[in-house]
Amino acid sequence: MEELLKCENLSFSYENTGVIKGLSFSVARGDYLCIVGENGSGKSTLVKGLLGLKSAAEGKIEKTKALGSGCIGYLPQQTPAQKDFPASVYEVVISGRLSSRGFRPFYSAKDKKIAMDNIRRLGVEDLIRRSYRDLSGGQQQRVLLARALCAGSTLLLLDEPVTGLDPIVTEEMYRLIDELNKKEGITIIMVSHDINSAVKYASHILHLKYDNSFFGTTNEYIESPMGQYFFSK
């Protein structure tokens, strides 16, 4: 498979303390990579690095041409301020097109079409006139996912997409992400707390642990000492 992203001997520090050291991994088109690890193991730092918002202390992240601008869709963690934000679903989704606008101030017909396509793709067309703040947690995540796809649909970077959702909606969300990966061939990188679901859906696992991180396929992970440690419990 064609490689999209490659990191070699990557190190990050946060407020002058190293959090990730000597990390190497790669992502190919169609992969479903789950990044797991304890709190403070540098998951968010790595996501910032992948998005180009934070530079590595050592090593670098190589993105191939297929991952140019307008190819990465990002689903950040929700902030408390967002939950009661007065904006229509349509306004939120189309804001994903902003990065491709440059200095042109208004959206074009093409932007509107892409927004509508993604709204349908995630099955939120009934909500289009509703206010974001009136939606349930699961519906809000779908809307944000549609926005992420508007920004880029080669690779989706999801930062803990199921936080705060109830078990049924969580399962629905995982299935939706799985469908985007399997049916539409969208490459997924997901940060998760939930190792069980990570193992169930992902093709690759990256378990962050300062200078002793694990990267490999899901089967390799289950067999590894790190995986064994979690599953023997």
Binding site: A81, S88, V92, F106
Partner: protein
């Protein structure tokens, strides 16, 4: 009607009307973004810093610098500083703002009482004065309003994105920091210009009330913006007229009208939510 004509035949009332409408328009647009980003206390902090700067300026009694000109750079610098403090959460933003605003107030009062005493000047800085606007202030209002309107029309979509989700906006290549700074800068200018009329104790209401009021009823960002602007200007004009009719302080009158609008919209919003809830249940 003839009463209104008489009222606005006074030069100072006309100036107050034009200046006030423009300032309320700016404040309401900036307010939507500030309130949604949970930055509304920055406005409050800045108005206190503004008071301190005005008090020092009038104590120094500088020959060729007006208090407004003296206050602008100080308040602008404080705006950037407060924004920084709110973003970095080492020290909690709200306590830092409280420290800065009370200190500025205390310094202002002390300087004022050491030089001229608590005269009418200080009183008008605190609670506003309708006759305070000079021609220079009026030009500043016009310039500010033009800049704010141009920015909000041309960069409306970016302002929405940065307000709604800063990390997403940053990740997709929007320079969120610049938009935050521009909004802080414009807020600082609006506060300094509006303070003379509204008073430093009351100017924050122009920023917060219209945004919060329109959010009671409106569900879309664009309608919140437009509604906020309309509410703000309407309340200002109503407050101005009422305070003239009853000879009460203008700033306070405007705030009371804003409070009335807020209560009215809260009631309307409550009723609308009930009706909508019933419709969705069906």
């Amino acid at each position: 009607m003839s009463y209104l004509i008489e009222m606005f035949s006074y030069d100072f009332m006309l100036k107050a009307l034009i200046g006030g409408v423009l300032v309320s328009l700016c404040a309401s647009l900036l307010g939507v973004s500030l309130v949604l980003k949970r930055y509304s206390m920055i406005g409050d902090g800045l108005s206190h810093v503004g008071f301190g700067a005005f008090a020092i300026a009038s104590a120094l009694n500088l020959a060729n610098i007006t208090p407004v000109e003296f206050a602008i750079p100080i308040v602008v610098i404080s705006a950037f500083f407060l924004l920084r403090v709110s973003e970095n959460s080492k020290m909690k933003g709200d306590s830092a703002i409280a420290i800065i605003s009370t200190s500025a107030l205390a310094i202002g009062i002390t300087v004022a009482s050491m030089s001229t005493g608590m005269n009418t000047d200080i009183n008008s800085y605190l609670f506003g004065s309708i006759i305070a606007l000079t021609n220079k202030d009026l030009y500043l209002c016009v310039g500010l309003a033009v800049v704010v309107l141009i920015i909000f029309v041309l960069f409306y979509n970016k302002i929405f994105a940065v307000t709604f989700d800063e990390s997403f906006a940053k990740a997709t290549g929007t320079k969120a920091g610049i938009y935050n700074m521009v909004i802080a800068l414009l807020t600082a200018l609006t506060i300094v210009v509006g303070m003379k009329m509204m008073g430093s104790m009351l100017i924050t209401s122009l920023i917060i009330f219209p945004a919060v009021t329109s959010m009671r009823v409106c569900h879309r960002f664009i309608t919140v913006m437009i509604c906020s602007a309309i509410i703000s200007v309407t309340c200002f004009v109503a407050g101005l007229i009422l305070s003239y009719v009853y000879s009460t302080p203008t700033g306070a009158g405007i705030v009371i009208v804003n409070l009335g609008a807020f209560l009215l919209f809260t009631a309307i919003g409550w009723v609308c939510d009930r009706i909508n809830a019933k419709r969705y249940l069906k």
